[in-house]
Symmetry: C2
Subunit: 214 residues, 2 copies
């Protein structure tokens, strides 16, 4: 039976799981959750995700939440389909994947998600972007991207010379970020820009980002 | 050669790594980084952690940052010392560990770290705690703890019936939280309180938390 993914393709966290499924060539069924009517905060969604969020998945007997955990599970289960996104056969290489996954989660994600919220989500709800917040978060993001520029001068991808989950975890927020007036933070950094051109032109990325129209 | 840990024992993130080292019975050398003089923002620390933070470790030829990634590396390298904190021999059990590690990182950590900052760190710098922020973050934390109470009515630990990295990742922030006036959020929930009494009385937890005096 195909994996069931509960969510919507414009949600970065749902798209994050879809991206891993496409990378691995895994069949799935997307079960829409109507966020507009707050279906994610009610039955029957809450037993799948008690935090009232998307996505959640069901695969055989297992039900999982949190996109980064779901993708680790998918990468482990389908390790031999294509590249091993976790580089699990090597202690040092897997440590590099883990490190840059944590950098994404704890250095990159906070600023970039706030900037996207202010510049793309706020206007949908008729709220003006808050320039003070945007500028403060851009300062943080630029510092993180300076570290990436240095890192990508030594390696083709964040965790080394292979495309891994560390790169994949950055893609969905960057898809939206590149549609904001702040995209020059990426294009002005040669190594970061080359990395983005590479990971955004992967067939799986193109497929999933096409559905991310808000 | 013993692993070198760069940091200070009162930093939750440094203590997080020390806790894993003690759980696994791994010898280490703590190399103090003088945060008061901003040594973490300067040479020679920056090559170890380009984000200017603690901790960082050096082990044989590898240098790592981000405490959650460091601990995954330590747990993988020393898998057979004591319990396997990542439950890596089972696809479904490792998925549960990953899930509750991500829940800690993305649901629990934000509110609890803000509350600790407001109630413990602010007064150190002569700043009053901001009650509005504390109340708003407590609302979020209480909702997360309600999910934990339900989860812990089914399993002894967050990821199942074994103590894992998912539990360990919660400990250091809880050590400080239990010293705040908000500790009743834990003690008033019978299952969460029993879980906390269990994980806080482990010899490794006692050892590391004794050094966390601010």
């Amino acid at each position: 039976m195909a994996i069931k993914v509960y969510g919507i393709p414009t949600s970065t966290c749902t798209a994050h799981v879809l991206l891993c499924l496409h990378e691995k060539g895994i069949e799935y069924q997307l079960v829409p959750v109507d966020l507009a009517s707050a279906a994610h905060k009610q039955q029957p969604h809450l037993p799948l995700n008690p935090f009232g969020q998307v996505p959640a998945i069901e695969d055989d007997d297992i039900s999982l939440l949190e996109s980064r955990a779901i993708n680790r599970y998918l990468a482990r289960k389908h390790k031999s389909n294509g590249t091993d996104l976790l580089q699990s056969n090597s202690l040092t290489e897997s440590a590099m994947v883990d490190t840059w996954m944590e950098v994404e989660a704890h250095q990159f994600n906070g600023p970039i998600s706030t900037i996207i919220y202010q510049t793309i989500v706020n206007p949908i709800y008729g709220l003006p972007p808050n320039d003070k917040i945007i500028n403060s978060e851009m300062d943080k993001l630029e510092k993180v991207l300076d570290v990436y520029e240095e890192r990508l001068s030594k390696y083709k991808f964040l965790a080394g010379d292979n495309y891994t989950m560390a790169d994949l975890n950055h893609i969905l927020f960057l898809v939206y970020f590149m549609r904001t007036p702040k995209a020059a933070a990426i294009t002005s950094r040669p190594r970061v820009n080359a990395w983005w051109n590479d990971i955004s032109s992967r067939p799986a990325t193109i497929k999933v980002s096409e559905a991310m129209k808000v």
